[in-house]
């Protein structure tokens, strides 16, 4: 593994804080008669270095919760903290700065067709000035670790679906995020590459101090995580060690 060990100050619970703390969180779409509540009184706490998988049937509110924790959606009240910040109070530059501490992996890779694999990851690396060592070397090594060493300068049109998804994963990890939020990150990967990615996630969580919240319905990967949260109809149905 080429990712260097982080300084202990990176870990947000240096003062005993949780990486994610959700307390009595409600969320609804629409207003008036069209209002539809999707989250009901969610209580959830994730410790730093924890690798949690959130699962549940379609429409249970997993993605909404993920986007709220990632500050992509504004909470409708109090009760949501991540990396020690009250997300209801984040605006403008502070919100942008907060997002640079996070890594996102979406179901779709969303790679710019104009950028090579290296350039796509470089865009994410450019957001942070505090990546130790040679940035270019880190990008190459990370892509190499994900099996793309021979494809560094390929654009998405020359990559397979799985390769594109691995570029998107490298983009989310290159700046060593404190919190990684992933939505079905292995859906487009074959079994071997799924294992590579999951091992990387575990190492990130346990060696780098990254907290990981991953949404998936793939029961084969549940055992990789430290914790399994099951969300049903906008409520946490079960929360246990994987």
């Amino acid at each position: 593994m080429s990712i260097p060990q982080p300084p202990s100050s990176r870990v947000p619970n240096a003062r005993g804080e949780s990486a994610i703390r959700v307390s009595g969180l409600d969320y609804a779409f629409g207003t008036g008669e069209a209002r539809k509540q999707v989250l009901f009184g969610i209580d959830l706490e994730l410790a730093p270095r924890e690798f949690a998988i959130m699962t549940g049937p379609s429409g249970s509110g997993k993605t909404t919760l993920l986007s709220l924790v990632g500050a992509l959606r504004r909470p409708q009240g109090e009760g949501l903290w991540a990396l020690g910040r009250d997300l209801a109070e984040l605006h403008g530059r502070a919100l942008e700065a907060f997002r640079t501490q996070l890594g996102f992996i979406f179901q779709l890779h969303n790679l710019f067709p104009a950028l090579t694999a290296f350039q796509s990851v470089q865009m994410a690396a450019d957001l942070r000035d505090d990546i130790p060592g040679d940035k270019d070397r880190r990008i190459s090594e990370l892509l190499g670790e994900l099996g793309l060493g021979e494809r560094l300068h390929y654009k998405p049109e020359k990559l397979s679906g799985g390769q594109r998804q691995r570029v998107a994963i490298a983009r989310a990890l290159v700046h060593r995020p404190l919190l990684l939020l992933a939505d079905e990150p292995t859906a487009a990967l074959d079994a071997d590459n799924t294992q590579i990615v999951l091992q990387l996630f575990r190492r990130l969580a346990h060696e780098e101090g990254t907290t990981i919240l991953m949404v998936t319905q793939d029961a084969r990967v549940f055992e990789t995580a430290d914790r399994l949260i099951n969300l049903v109809d906008g409520r946490i149905d079960s929360d246990s060690a994987a």
Partner: protein, 378 residues
């Protein structure tokens, strides 16, 4: 710090799809070409209308008060010439006559109006070298010099026999002047030939061209002339007349305003074309731009990328438009004899309009960027 990477990112986005880039450049070049051609036509209008005036060797010009612009025909009594000559500081006063007559194309028999300029061949009044060199040839009655830039519709342009106002004229030489928006050709003849052709009242002249003594103060002479001359005429320095006519053609004629509206229309077309290009680009990469926002890139970065794209397109589109504009106006000048062309100022103006046009389109396209919602990505 991050904004520094925006230009290279913009270039990568633009250069990735070569076909679309070429189409975009074509669209923007087309809008810029529209503007350049309108400016070129306007130059032709202004330059051609002033060309004869600029080629007159005079310090002060006396002419009818009603005459506006200079090329309009409105004669004054010849007596005004002598009255002007009596003013202190005036060294000479030479008459000039203008009229439109029909020239017969001897090749196809068609008739076309031609401007016939009469002057006293014993007295130099033109700054055109070819006219000065051939001036003495015009002393012989029935001879003329023809504008070598007259349109081909007049038939053969050169020495030889011609027919003007149903009278035979011998063309004894040519001179370069150029056509204007009123007529397609010019003929210079002696005063005697002019009266033969027009049968006009010899006691009337179109204008008096005054030269001053070396020690004379132009503004003082102008004041003295105004006090001596009756109110039916006015005296102008040549510079005043050029400025007055320029203002007349620029602001007082519908055609000049139409051409300026044409520039505005080109600008509007350019904004629409450029907006469509940028808007489509943002729309096609909506999820990718939203991912950038989710990663921590702010609206400012994405706005910067779009604006840089707009500027790059404005520059890419500018150079082909200038080359094409120059070529087309050159062709127009060759075919029509009009002094159609582009000045450095015109090119600079269009460069600025191009940047402004694309910036305006970029700003409009940014509305879409502001609506990017990274929450839609999950």
């Amino acid at each position: 710090m991050r904004l520094r990477t925006a230009p290279i990112f913009s270039l990568r986005l633009l250069l990735h799809e070569r076909g679309r880039l070429l189409a975009s450049i074509g669209g923007i070049s087309f809008a810029l070409l529209l503007m350049l051609l309108q400016l070129g036509f306007r130059n032709a209008l202004l330059d051609s209308a002033l060309e004869l005036l600029k080629q007159l060797d005079a310090d002060i010009i006396v002419m009818s008060k009603e005459k506006r612009p200079f090329l309009q025909r409105d004669r004054m009594p010849k007596e005004r010439l002598y009255q002007a000559l009596s003013v202190e500081g005036v060294a000479s006063a030479h008459p000039l006559w203008l009229t439109l007559l029909h020239w017969k194309n001897l090749e196809d028999g068609t008739l076309r109006p031609i401007r016939v300029i009469g002057f006293d061949p014993d007295r130099p009044v033109f700054l055109i070298e070819d006219v000065e060199a051939a001036r003495r040839l015009l002393v012989r009655r029935g001879t003329a010099l023809i504008d070598a830039r007259s349109r081909k519709a007049y038939g053969r342009i050169g020495k030889g026999e011609a027919q003007v106002a149903q009278r035979r004229v011998e063309v004894v030489g040519t001179f370069p002047l150029g056509t204007d928006f009123e007529v397609d050709g010019n003929l210079i003849v002696s005063d005697e030939t002019w009266f033969d052709l027009t049968r006009s009242n010899q006691q009337l002249v179109e204008m008096a061209l005054l030269k001053l003594t070396p020690d004379a103060d132009r503004s003082e002479v102008l004041t003295r002339l105004q006090s001596v001359l009756p109110t039916d005429v006015r005296a102008f320095s040549k510079a005043q007349l050029v400025a007055r006519d320029l203002a007349y053609w620029k602001h007082g004629t519908p055609i000049s305003i139409i051409l300026l509206v044409g520039v505005g229309l080109g600008f509007a077309v350019g904004v629409v074309i450029c907006y469509q290009i940028l808007y489509t680009d943002v729309l096609d990469h909506l999820a990718e731009f939203a991912t950038l926002k989710a990663s921590g890139y702010g609206d400012r970065y994405i706005q910067c990328v779009v604006i840089v794209e707009a500027w790059v397109l404005s520059q890419f589109g500018f150079f082909p438009a200038v080359v094409l504009g120059w070529a087309l106006l050159g062709l127009l000048a060759m075919v029509s004899g009009l002094p159609a062309g582009l000045s450095g100022g015109n090119v600079l103006t269009v460069a600025l309009l191009s940047a402004g046009m694309c910036t305006a389109a970029g700003v409009l396209a940014l509305r879409k960027v502001r609506l990017l919602d990274p929450a839609e990505l999950f």
